[in-house]
Each structure stands twice: as structure tokens, then as C-alpha cells.
Subunit: 338 residues, 2 copies
């Protein structure tokens, strides 16, 4: 049984884009599991953009990661030893933990997975937090109606790809934005988007207007930045904007130069009767069973597909995280621990 956990600690609050030196990898002692606890070997660690927020000490919906501690993650792990009757050695579980290769957790905080129902790492992506984020944000805030137009950035990412596919199944015209021709091709050819615009090419606003001949009724906000700027003029009366990420600004250290577009945004919200609604997936935790049932059906029938961007080993985690914030991932970002 292991007595240490290889752990990635946050040692400096990133200023702008995170740097490798903001982290260090160290072995820390692993306590013996007490009563009701389990010793876990991590198999899959999730990387998600929200983790950038936890590395900052700006006020947010969750406390920042203390310096010297590992950032949070969701993980799929294998039980090595159990001091609780609900779990046995060899069981696979989903657990909220941190950037490390082993951990001791309360059995009550582990969710036992059925590895025959889906590849276990799916519970970190399409069947997990990102999938539920897409499903619940679209259903409760986006409220899609057939014939409407939806726009989403990060179109091939863990959330955007699911938003677009559910919207397609709901009868909407789906316009994505992604970085590079390959991702755009994937969005239209594999995910079934009606259009996908390359954000690295010029004139995004003009191309967006062309791709949305009837305007936009839902803008699922994941990215902010140029995608938001391109969509705003196209929003139809009573359009809905679920806001669950603003990746483009996560590494920003100061507000961008002017002009100040805040008053114009408020006026647009007024004159078009817009609904702009921020949400954190935990608000919709009660939806998880309904979401999993529907998503499992869609996956089994092939109506929804998903793509994973996997790197191997704890050493790959910091570079993969930095790359994800730059949009270099192609699909749900995962770290596999052998």
C-alpha cells in the first residue's frame, strides 16, 4: 500500500496565464484510512477551466485554493483499501478531490460507478459535471425552441460540444466557434453543427452575421471575448444568455482598454428584453438523475458523441492545464494516471 501521494501544489497565485513555476510536484505523506474511509488510487483526473478561478483570490462563488495545497479536481479512482462496508477494494468511484495520484477519502463522499455502463472517465465529461452544465444550463436558462438559432463558443470543448448537440436534437440551428479548421470540421461533420467559425480567422463578426441569418436566440456563454462581441448585435428580442464561463478573460490581469461597453450592454439588455443569467452547475444538482438517464440514451443511440483529449501522467497535468486555457485541447481534457 502506498504511504505517500504524489501531489501538485499551487505555490504561487498565477499572474496572467499560469506558468509551470506556479506549481510544484512533491510527495506528501498519505495517512492510513480511518473508519468509514477508503484509500484511493486515482485513474483519471479532470481538467476544467473553472480551476483557473480557484487559483485566484478574487471573490468568487468558491474559496481559493490555499497556497501550498493542490487545486481541486474531480477524479475517477480505484479503491485500494476500504474501511467502509459500502465499498470494496477494486471498486471504481467518482470523487471530488485534488491534483494528486492517491488520496484518502470518506466512503460517503465517493460515488460508486458501474464500469459496464460507460467508460469510467465519461463521468468526468459527457456524463459528469460538464455534461450536466450543458444540459441544465440549456434546459433551464436557454429554454430552446425548435427553429431558433443557438450560438456557442469553445464548440468542441467538454461543455460547448454538448450544448450544440443537444440544441441540434432540439431542432435549433447551431452555430459554433472554435479555434482552427480541424475543430470546425469536427463540429460540423461529427457533432452536426450547422456552421462553425474559426476564431483565428479575421472578421468574426461579419462571418457570425452570415451564419445567423435569423439572428441568435440563445448565446451559451463559455468564452466571452471576441465571440461575445460578435454575437451581441445579432441577439433577437427575448434572447437568453446562460453564462457559465468567460474563458477569454480568466488570465486577464486588468480590464481591457476602452471604450467602456458596459452601458451599451445594459441598453442592449433593455431594448431587446434579454435574459442574461449566470449559473454554477451545483445549482442544478437535483437534475443529475434525469440528465444521466437522457444522456445515456443519447450516447447509446449515437445521437450524441464526445471526444476526449487525454494526456498521461501527473507530470503532464500542469502543461495540459495551461494549454487548455489557451484552447489547445481538442475535446474534454483528461489526465490518465497509469
Amino acid at each position: 500500500m502506498p504511504t505517500t501521494a504524489r501531489t501538485i501544489q499551487l505555490v504561487a497565485r498565477p499572474v496572467g496565464a499560469p506558468k509551470p513555476t506556479d506549481f510544484r510536484i512533491v510527495d506528501v505523506p498519505l495517512p492510513d484510512p480511518g473508519p468509514g474511509e477508503v484509500l484511493l488510487k486515482m485513474e483519471w483526473l479532470s481538467l476544467d477551466p473553472y480551476m483557473r478561478g480557484r487559483m485566484s483570490d478574487a471573490r468568487s462563488y468558491a474559496a481559493p485554493t490555499p497556497l501550498g495545497c493542490p487545486p481541486p479536481t474531480e477524479a475517477v479512482a480505484r479503491v485500494l483499501r476500504s474501511n467502509d462496508p459500502s465499498l470494496q477494494a477494486g471498486d471504481r468511484v467518482l470523487v471530488h478531490d485534488a491534483w494528486r495520484d492517491h488520496t484518502v477519502a470518506k466512503a460517503a463522499n465517493c460515488r460508486k460507478l458501474d464500469p459496464t455502463a460507460a467508460p469510467v472517465q465519461a463521468w468526468l465529461g459527457i456524463l459528469g459535471m460538464p455534461g450536466l452544465t450543458a444540459w441544465a444550463g440549456l434546459k433551464h436558462i436557454g429554454r430552446p425552441k425548435p427553429g431558433e438559432t443557438l450560438v456557442v463558443g469553445a464548440a468542441t470543448g467538454a461543455v460547448g460540444s454538448v450544448v450544440g448537440q443537444i440544441a441540434r436534437l432540439s431542432g435549433l440551428r447551431v452555430v459554433g466557434v472554435a479555434g482552427g479548421a480541424e475543430k470546425c470540421r469536427h463540429a460540423t461533420e461529427t457533432l452536426g453543427f450547422d456552421a462553425c467559425l474559426d476564431r483565428h480567422q479575421p472578421d468574426l463578426a461579419a462571418r457570425m452575421a452570415e451564419a445567423c441569418p435569423k439572428g441568435a436566440d440563445i448565446y451559451f456563454e463559455l468564452t466571452g471575448g471576441d465571440v461575445l462581441s460578435a454575437v451581441l448585435p445579432l441577439l433577437n428580442p427575448f434572447a437568453r444568455i446562460p453564462v457559465c464561463g468567460t474563458i477569454a478573460s480568466y488570465n486577464a490581469t486588468t480590464a481591457p482598454d476602452g471604450p467602456d461597453r458596459l452601458p451599451a450592454l445594459m441598453r442592449l439588455i433593455l431594448t431587446r428584453s434579454l435574459t442574461v443569467r449566470g449559473f454554477i452547475v451545483s445549482e442544478f444538482a437535483a437534475d443529475r438523475p434525469a440528465f444521466e438517464a437522457e444522456m445515456t440514451t443519447w450516447l447509446a443511440s449515437g445521437q450524441i458523441t464526445h471526444k476526449e483529449d487525454v494526456t498521461d501522467g501527473l507530470d503532464s497535468m500542469v502543461p495540459a492545464f495551461i494549454g487548455m486555457l489557451e484552447g489547445r485541447n481538442f475535446g474534454k481534457t483528461l489526465v490518465r494516471l497509469g
Copy 2:
């Protein structure tokens, strides 16, 4: 019977604050009322900030007033002659019309008023569009809960004063912002606000933070500008922002200098799970009977009071409008035609 109508025409699109020379007063021929029509003598004309929007040709929820035509208004009028069995000479009616002293209207577009139920001009304010705006925006978007804190600017205006009083009746802490000590005193002493901050004094943000010790749960947006800036940092998770006016920017000709606060606003919406929802009162037209019933009860019992800012004569209308946009009115702005 009159054969001409004294009419205020918009002759130039205002650049920045409207100027007297953007308007002219002329006599225009008044047609004879046809079948189903009535000849009306206007008694009260309403002035509301939204009219500034109709004078611009920027895209909005309603078409702009054509140059050479009178801006829109709601009016209380007396029937001089009726060619429709539903109305008789002497009846008082509410009608959507324009800035002029007489008009010919379809009887079907006139709502007959009961002058014994309330002073007729109340249907332009507390019992009319501004009252319904406050009532419906608060109910459907603000969704007040006892113990919460509501902030509203233009606190003694036609909408803000009603928002604050309904919120007080709903058990909320009510913090207003108004221009000058006299208005602030009126808000606290007569309208029952818990606090009212003078926007002409320095350090609005600090005073707002003091006035909202438990943060803000509803910000009813009428003004934008400094009030919005002061409230944003205080918004609690799941706060609601009904947006029905941004008076501070109505006369703006360009976006203000930077920094650009739009990305920070989107991030705040995300991290605090805010709902920002624009609306036009027409969305809630079906609520009018319920609103009138409740408001009539409140007025009769003295639980809600209202204040009118009356000027006399069509010649006073343009100066009163210009003054209202500068916040010089004290209560619901009305023009009385003798």
C-alpha cells in the same frame, strides 16, 4: 369644434441632450372624426424617459418618431364629439397619442376612465404605465422575498417610487438613490424607504455599501451610471436585476472612455449567479387588471402614495422633457392642458 391641433413636432434628431430647437410647435389641420372615431381634447400628457429613445433612430424595440411628426405619449383626454356609440361627449379616456392638444382617434383605441375612482391623471402614472412597469418588473423579475435588500435609483420618480414602496410592503429593506436632499427626505419620510442616497454627493459607492450591510438582492435598473457602478460590487449570489431604463446614458453620443468593464460584468454575472433581465412593460400587458386592483387598494388605504410634477400648457412640454432627462422633475412628470 376645433379644426386645428397645436402640435409639437420633432424636427431634428437630438445629438446628446435634446435642445429646444429639436422641436417646433405648429398648428396642423385636424380632420373631422369619421365613423367609429372621436374628437379628443387632451387634458393631461405624460412625459416619460423612454420617449428619448423614440427620438433616436438607433435600433430599439419600437420604431423612431419620424422627423416632422410629434413624439408619442399617453394622454388623458375629454371627448368633444363622438361618432361611436361606446363613447359620449364629456367622457374621459386614456389614449396612446402624441404631443398635441387635440386629436382624432378610434374609439376602440380609447379606454374610458371612471373619474370618480381616481384623479384621471393617475392612469398616466401610479395606475398606468409607470405603475405597471414597477409592479410587473418587481413581481416577475425581481421576485422579492421578505428580508432581502432592494436598491433603486430615480427613487422619487414615477417608477422608482412605486418599486420602492411595493418592496417595502413586501418586507424588504429599500435603499434608494435620488438627486438632492429634498428628494432623499421625501423617499425616506413619505415613501418609507429605509435609506436614500443623494447622487450629487461624493463617495456614492461607499455610502451604498454602508446602506446595504447585507448586500443587495434586487437592483431595479432605471438609471445606469453611477448607481449601477455602486451596486454591482454589493450584489449577492442569485441577485436579480430587472432592467427597464438606463436614463444616465440616454443622451450619450459615444461610449464612455475605458477601461472596458463589459468583461468584468459578465464575470460578475457568472460568479454571483446573477439574473439580468431587460423588459418593456408591454410584455406584461395581461397583468393590468391584477395590477390595477392591487394598486387601487394600496392607494385607498394610503399604503402607497404618489407625487406629480405638473407643468401647464403645451409650451411647457419641451422644457419639462429636457428637465426630466436631467433629473429635475420631482415625481411623475405631467403636462396639464387647460
